[in-house]
Symmetry: C2
Subunit: 367 residues, 2 copies
């Protein structure tokens, strides 16, 4: 019988894995959640079905005709809006590079038992919605409000707490002009898994902030201490350490693995000769100032060509001409942001496995 009893108790007492291999609980998550295959870095706008996806609980079953967005708490004018009413508000379309805060988690040692991303939890789609600032202005957020709490319709158990998925933003962050209540992705209504009928979209922040399947927006006086704020999504050294909040996306470059893959190991096979290496780079709210490539396992670095930025929220193309010679080569790429932060070989470890923007390296067998 394929009963879950086959799956072992997971990790050590603190929920960490000291192993190189994966637990079946991690596999269950990896098969539900979806990475972007790296060859899809060739698309400036990620097709909807290739965008990374992380669903904490289940995709909720929402009847659009019954669904309403509630805006309440410390507001002078509480609102209850249907999707049609929201669509009548001013709309904006922006391309946004989104990345999961846990991207790179499975490359930490030890690693937190959770969704075991390597480097593929990324995507860059076009989102259409109405600016959150307009809705908050309509509701007239009161002066004593310090934060806005966003509640999704997805429910589950995490850290032994039954909960709806909830995250907050400071009022100042929430009224920034680029924060959207999004109802379209790549020109189509949101797919169920991406938050239909309405999701928050906060450019520059890791994806956990862009709450899907929005149910309620509430203005509150005190900082919100919900599970996803106070316990998950912290740069912490242990389960007891309060740590620091995870927020903005860190600088990263990724390359399209050149040549063709071995099915099982994904090691690349390439013909010798001139090869254009290419990929994308992004830096959250900062800009990318530099991308460098190494063709000798990271010993020496050369400047890549950076394409023009398209908008302030999405990734830039980079290219590098490499004369591939026979033998096995480890190619690496790293980016530097406008504040001088450069991707490290090893990112500083943290308990939750967040923000691991360590340099990507790709092994290529050249014939």
């Amino acid at each position: 019988m394929n009963s879950p009893k086959r799956f072992p108790t997971v990790g050590d007492d603190s929920g960490l894995a000291q192993t190189d291999w994966l637990y079946k609980e991690e596999l269950q998550l990896a098969l539900r959640n979806k990475g972007m295959p790296l060859e899809a870095l060739r698309y400036t706008i990620t097709p909807t079905g290739l965008h990374y996806l992380l669903v904490h609980y289940d995709i909720p079953d929402i009847k659009p005709e019954e669904w309403r967005l509630k805006i309440d708490g410390l507001v002078s004018k509480p609102l209850t809006l249907s999707l049609e009413e929201i669509k009548k508000r001013p709309s904006q379309t922006i391309a946004v590079t989104m990345e999961c805060a846990g991207n790179g988690r499975a490359l930490f040692t030890p690693r937190r038992i959770s969704q075991p991303w390597l480097v593929e939890a990324i995507g860059n789609s076009e989102w259409t919605g109405t600016p959150l600032s307009g809705i908050l202005k309509e509701a007239d957020v009161q002066r004593d409000a310090s934060e806005i709490i966003f509640t999704g319709l997805d429910r589950g158990v995490e850290g032994d707490q039954v909960q709806s998925y909830q995250r907050s933003l400071s009022v100042r962050e929430a009224i920034a002009g680029d924060v959207l209540l999004a109802y379209e992705m790549n020109g189509e209504p949101l797919q169920p898994q991406h938050g239909y009928p309405l999701r928050l979209l906060v450019p520059g922040w890791y994806g956990m902030t862009s709450v899907k399947w929005l149910d309620k927006i509430e203005a509150v006086a005190e900082p919100f201490e919900g599970y996803q704020m106070a316990r998950a999504y912290r740069y912490a050294q242990s389960s007891d350490d309060p740590g620091e909040p995870v927020n903005l996306i860190r600088v990263r470059a990724l390359m399209i693995p050149p040549g063709i893959p071995d099915f099982m190991t994904r090691t690349r096979l390439l013909q010798a000769g001139p090869t254009t290496l290419t990929g994308k780079a992004w830096a959250g709210r900062r800009s990318v100032s530099r991308v460098e490539v190494s063709v000798d396992s990271g010993s020496t670095w050369s400047e890549a060509q950076l394409g023009e930025p398209i908008s302030s929220h999405d990734w830039r193309t980079w290219t590098f001409l490499w004369n591939a010679r026979p033998g096995t080569t480890i190619l690496c790429v790293r980016a530097t942001d406008s504040e001088g932060n450069v991707q490290p070989f090893h990112q500083q470890w943290n308990f939750g496995g967040y923000g691991n923007n360590a340099i990507q390296c790709v092994t290529v067998v050249v014939e």
Copy 2:
């Protein structure tokens, strides 16, 4: 450095894993390929981005204006067709339940090191295309042809062979009226990962037959002995055993896990009281004659209600009313097909990990 050297050599000498845990090579595959989260069984037509996806090599980069389908070999009239020309042929739209032949692979012990599916490699979308029979008639397949070979534009290394993905069908199977050259999925042009611009679609067969990114269709006299026919996709007992070909989808029922999930273990939490269990059942080219549910770990079984079949190629809804009482319960569901085949608790082991339609069981904690 996150170099692939961190990943161990995989499995034992034969490429089998004797372990309960997963190798990182399996994780790499699980993060590229995509399962359907089981709550999506609620959609009769699977939204495009939720359909399972298995890409052997890389998603190829195809310029539609340069792309042409070649039909040649033992035909009187070789053809070279653009997408526009193919779309001018008669079109047909059918809903088809597709399943990966490797679905259930990770539940075999030992298991083949490959894409480690549990039960989620499924989907049921609407496909639009032109019947293959019409195109083969136009090309006038000669009498001495016994098989039709389908070649995709995806290339990679498998079993140490550099290859394009290729599968064949007997001429008789290929001219069956329900085999399509499909260019739309759910009313939209194929997404890149689902075979854009054109794929084969063979209802009732496991997904490996529905070759994506079609490049060439060739009529040949002798049975095709390519890697994906003669070495992969065989019900075999070892790597040396020729075994039998994997072909039609076996009967299976799956249930939407009731209640809400624990994030990490995916164990379900449910309130006591009447609960409608529901899901889908399918049987390849056969029909589903019966679905049964067990609420006691498979000791006793009760008949579920079967919904009406919608078409001959897609899944049927089943429902079962359960009075959930407090405690931990293991729910199981099994289907029987029109030839009397019933899902087993343990499917007979095979080397490649194919056709594992063992009964699904779901652990539920009722409060």
